[in-house]
Symmetry: C2
Subunit: 192 residues, 2 copies
Amino acid sequence: MKELREAILREGQGIGKDVVKVDSFLNHRIDVGLAVRMGQAFYQAFREDEVDCILTVEASGIVPAVTTAQAFGNIPVVFAKKGDHTNVGPDVYTARVYSFTHQRTNVIRVSKRHLLRGARVLIVDDFLANGEAIEGLLDILRQAECIAVGAGVCVEKGFQSGGRRLRERGLKVVSLAIVAGVEDGRIILDHQ
Amino acid sequence: MKELREAILREGQGIGKDVVKVDSFLNHRIDVGLAVRMGQAFYQAFREDEVDCILTVEASGIVPAVTTAQAFGNIPVVFAKKGDHTNVGPDVYTARVYSFTHQRTNVIRVSKRHLLRGARVLIVDDFLANGEAIEGLLDILRQAECIAVGAGVCVEKGFQSGGRRLRERGLKVVSLAIVAGVEDGRIILDHQ
């Protein structure tokens, strides 16, 4: 997606060999117009897939999840919660997700009553690196006997293995921008 | 807001004396159409206040924050992060927020570069109970020398003191539904 690629090149910061910092428009300050258009892009990519609802994980995945749901005509969003939420209740699906960014394992959970068996679910997230978050969401969808129609990702780190592994397994993964690497503080994008 | 009040009465669960569980449409599964219309309601309430950007705190505040920003013509959203985020960096405003729901103190933080001095900022959140989250956001706005034009809240617990205390201090607080109390598992709404 041209607008997202331009925003990454203009405002993104590369740190070290693998950190892609896009907090000025994607996951701390939000460029809401861009978020709306990313939702429309995911709709274009998955419009034939009969999507019933969107699944993401808190926190920054919520933004593209909501704008994608709007593009689909205001279908529901479910976001998995991290950690021990007293408000979620005991009747939950859980999965363990290791976060490389925060270097810790989170338990993510979704109330069973929010995922109906047989529902066709599109996963949306802001980042795909090692794929741990999406693997955890897929695990929850398997437990719920839902159908994962695919994953829409704003920024994929193409130099990490998550996207390749998910696609090899047959999942339809659509990334709006793919980062090839980080060099001297600059973010290098894949030619797409 | 009639649609939100009806959703609370139809789908909300009261637990104990003070827990208002609305996770089927507001903060776990999201009714996206309702979220859009809540954003429009906040726009109607604050449209004369020359709002430059929306401030909220992760995670469930992000939904009404984004839809409100859309109603204002896609102004930016900034969401405060909880805990130690390695991605936020050191140059941050922080505030301590006690969460009664989770019974712990969180440090919330916002990168300094995302709050420009003099900006007119509308706080949006899904819940207002004891007001700790909004107090923390106001603290951050003071540090950033921004102008807090008010707070838009989806559900206020009118039987807790946060709303009264914020209004006494002169803050414009607009709540779309006010819960008067919880009785025998039922949620009682204020007459509004």
